[in-house]
């Protein structure tokens, strides 16, 4: 499997996430799209990890190369989780005040 397939897949997912952020008005969906972007990055990292491993695998099959990317993915998940908790809290707070999660209503602050 050539690595660039994965790269393209990841980028495609990322772009779909971006598209979602751009086209939706619901704050939660937008947030979900961001999560999709993060996952795309995770996939990309793992693919790269594999790529770098493959570069050395032929002469050193037990090489640690690539492990750190997976650790990084692990941390991304951690951060994402923290972010989700705070993000959802903010969204809920917003919802409590204006009974909507439509980002288009966020226009008191402008110019």
């Amino acid at each position: 499997m050539p690595i660039n397939y994965y790269i393209i897949l990841a980028i495609a997912l990322f772009s779909i996430g971006v598209m979602g952020v751009l086209t939706r008005r619901n704050a939660i969906i937008i947030f979900m799209c961001v999560e999709l972007m993060l996952n795309a990055v995770n996939l990309l990292l793992v693919a790269f990890s594999k790529m770098h491993y493959s570069n050395v695998a032929s002469f050193n099959p037990s090489s640690p190369v690539g492990t750190e990317a997976q650790v990084f993915v692990f941390f991304i998940m951690v951060v994402a989780a923290a972010e989700v908790s705070v993000g959802l809290a903010i969204i809920v707070m917003m919802y409590r005040n204006i009974h909507s999660v439509d980002v288009n209503f966020l226009n008191r602050l402008k110019h």
């Binding site: 499997m1 050539p2 980028i11 008005r25 491993y53 989780a81 969204i91």
Partner: protein, 167 residues
């Protein structure tokens, strides 16, 4: 076409399709569910890429915990398909085009690599094993690991400050 390849194409199609469904679906609950599908597809890819531990974590943390949280909030707010008014048509179009262009530009930039026939992926290796990961995490990456606790603490405090009712 080997089994891996078949799996790859299947999972990719699934991921992309589900992602698109998620973005386009009007009902937030369905979106969440489609997103979970994407996560599962990605976990599948992880396995293909020899990242078994991550695959599991992804399902547990993401598809499990995080998405449930989302779902919970959506249920709480009682959002449904009709509650979200559509964005301005032009904005939507612009958004879609911009996202598409992003894809295009990235692919165009990375295409030069494609023709060089990057190495195919070796089927297996020790990289993604939990043992290896655990070792690295608690040796080289112990510092960020510890520091992540600060992150969690602050997120926790934050959630309390923001979420606490009555003030």
């Amino acid at each position: 076409m080997s089994i891996t390849e078949i799996l790859f194409w299947f999972l990719s199609a699934l991921a992309l399709g589900a992602a698109l469904m998620m973005v386009t679906n009007k009902n937030p609950v369905y979106s969440v569910l489609w997103l979970i599908v994407v996560f599962f597809a990605i976990s599948g890819h992880y396995i293909l890429l020899n990242a078994q531990f991550l695959a599991i974590v992804n399902i547990i943390v993401y598809a499990g915990a995080i998405m449930v949280l989302f779902l919970f909030v959506i249920m709480l707010m009682n959002l449904n398909a009709d509650s979200e008014p559509q964005k301005n048509k032009w904005m939507k179009l612009a958004g879609a085009v911009a996202g598409g262009c992003l894809l295009l530009v990235f692919v165009a930039a990375l295409r030069q690599v494609e023709f060089l026939k990057l190495e195919t992926i070796t089927p297996d290796g020790p990289t993604g094993l939990i043992r290896r990961l655990g070792y690295v995490l608690f040796t080289d990456y112990v510092l960020p690991f510890e520091i992540a606790s600060v992150l969690f603490l602050s997120a926790m405090v934050g959630a309390v400050v923001i979420g606490k009712k009555g003030d």
